[in-house]
Amino acid sequence: MFYREAGQFKTSYEKDAAIFPIRQDRIGIAIILVAAFVVVPFVATPYVFSAILIPFLILALAAIGLNILTGYCGQLSLGTAAFMAVGAFAAYNFMLRVPHMPVLLAFVGGGVMAALVGIVFGLPSLRIRGFYLAVATLAAQFFILWCLSKVGWFSNYSSSGVITAQRVEILGYAFTTPASKYLLVLSIVAVMALAAKNLARSNTGRAWMAVRDMDVAAEVIGIRLMPTKLLAFAISSFYAGVAGALYAYLYLGTVEPEAYNLDLSFRILFMIIIGGVGTILGSFLGSAFIALLPILLSLLVSFLENTVHLSVSRSITSNLELMVFGGLIIFFLIVEPHGLARLWQIGKEKLRLWPFPY
């Protein structure tokens, strides 16, 4: 009833190619953006900003990066966290060694360095695919972290290989409060998510999808494999690199290379699998599921402990949290193997017909 596109006529090619062709979607997105930019900063507490929203957005950005590579171009990667580390360490070195470096440019620089490294580790994708490529990117994961802790120059010869992010200042304004950090992260993520969405709808995105669906066929219709795949690697790593720099600068502050370990790569991979492979929305949903659900469970447990005075030992509740989380993952994968984004899509189809499904 509310979600009907009847009566919305597309009278020009521009309208037909619009990013959100349905009016209700445009309104919905506008409401979400207004809520995120205007309402949330007024209502959220510092805890919500710095422990929930900021990591959620940063991991969503990394998930978008991996989605570009795995979801759109079909190249499985287990090295996302390593590319994030490249972004963080590169941004740190740009800030450290280039005088008067603007921090946003340092983030972009981190992304570009990650993209270059991504291209190098993407080269094997021209010859191998599937699980074998995953193993090659696994090598990237180990090699990059090893290299960052081995070569002292990257961490400015810190004895423990740790970097401490410099102050984030843009045009003289220092981003120190949780709310201001959140707004900065949100702006960057919003712009980059929009760019990714448009990229996926462009020529490039269609070429990626053609390669994903069948690379021989894609080659036959005139898509050059090498530039297409390497471009996917570059852009994906760029996203990961920026996310990594944000992770260091606006979230943790001080990081060791170990913060970007294989575990994080896996978590980002699970985000896109649970959220939905090959959708931008899925990156956000997956990030919310993987990053926020354990926190919600743990909050629930401590709430119960404080109110009902559960006399269960902490070791049991901690393990229970993990078990419930694992159970939920299995539940969602059985109910909808194509991810939460697909669930939303089905919901939309149903909404179109509701309440007269005939």
Binding site: P46, Y47, S50, A51, I52, P55, L96, F142, W146, S149, N156, S159, S160, G161, V162, T164, Q166, R167, T176, Y251, L252, G253, T254, V255, E256, P257, E258, A259, D263, A291, P294, I295, S298, L299, S302, N306, T307, S313, R314, S315, T317, S318, N319, E321, L322
Partner: protein
Amino acid sequence: MKAMKSALLGLTMLGVAATAVAQSEQFIPILSYRVGPYAAGGSGYFGGAIDYFNLINATGGINGVKIAYEECETEYNASRGVECYERLKKVKGGATTVEPLSTGIAYGLLDRVGTDKIPMTTFGYGSANAADGRVFPWVYPIGTSYWSQAAAMISYLGQQAGGMDKLKGKKVVDLYHDSAFGKEPLPVFDALAAKYGFELIKIPVAHPGNTQESQWLQIRQARPDYVILWGWGVMNPTALKAAAKVGFPRDKVLGVWWAGSEEDVIPAGDAAKGYVTAAFSAPGTNFPVMQDISKKLYASGKGNLEDSSRQGSIYHTRGVTYGIIIVEAIRKAQEKYGKGKVMTPEQVRWGLENLNLTEARIKELGAGGMFPPIKTSCVDHEGSGMVRFQQWDGKGFKPLTPFMSGDKEMVRKMVDESAAKYAAEKKITARDCSKES
């Protein structure tokens, strides 16, 4: 509906009552980890801390002030740890001090504790340069840092060799966990190798370190006099088994304190017999304070350890030591800011910075010999730098040396340099300690 309303009302009232009570209590968040690969250490350590807090509460609190605590599971994961810290820093009147027992989490909190003005302790880990209180006013690596420990280890080896001058020409292998943790002591080892003229061979082991054949082959070929085992987790028993396989004497293997708990040696079985490790607190159930914990808590089923036979184990006594030091810091703060009052984080910070635990005071607390005397100051947040060495005999750790320290002056010089570099990088102006009271 009515029932639900009254239930809700009851809940809110309960909440109000809880906060009202909490204000007369000193709140300490416990960022514990009881699941995952490091659960054994986490449950023992935080179990020990909670046991001591409960003991204090059972015996009247700190001059009447009871300790309130709340646990949050970090899974030893930096982002979960940051979430726990953010969640607990404001509850029950606010966190007064925090101890994450994880290098990654400690780094994630480093900037935050400064802005929130909550002192953080990093007991026996973390970055050594935080011992410089002028640059790190909110971080307290109380006891010993990795650098002090590394220096003490070399002093111990010197003792074994019959004098520091006898180290000349000896070969020492540093078999280390290839991470920030394992790399931290390398500058100290390098400097000491240059000073005493022994040959240092550095052999990294990639995480998690469950295969070490090639490393031990390398060690066998090098024929070192000693092997320093700077390991963590599964790497430790693996190293001991590999040492047994190549026939390297275990009493020449010297472990870091994170390689020196029951959890590290028991899986290696007989291969661990004779193995020597460093420790910053002594294990055992004979200390009066451990006896109290056993009698007042475990006898009535109030102990925090699931397995009460773990009482007096290395991690448990380490946790108790942490508890003692925090409680003493709060006591010290109360001496200045009013006995029987709940201290603010700033006041606890002052207490941590002016801690003076003499041999006599430690004995009074029923922990004589459990940990070395500690005296902190504005400049020196470490306060001791002493470790002792212990040997695993197959059943328990037997002490080999009293608490001892290494070349403290050299370590302190390196701390100052490193902290100054950090301050320059972060554009921090160091505090002037002559103006602190």
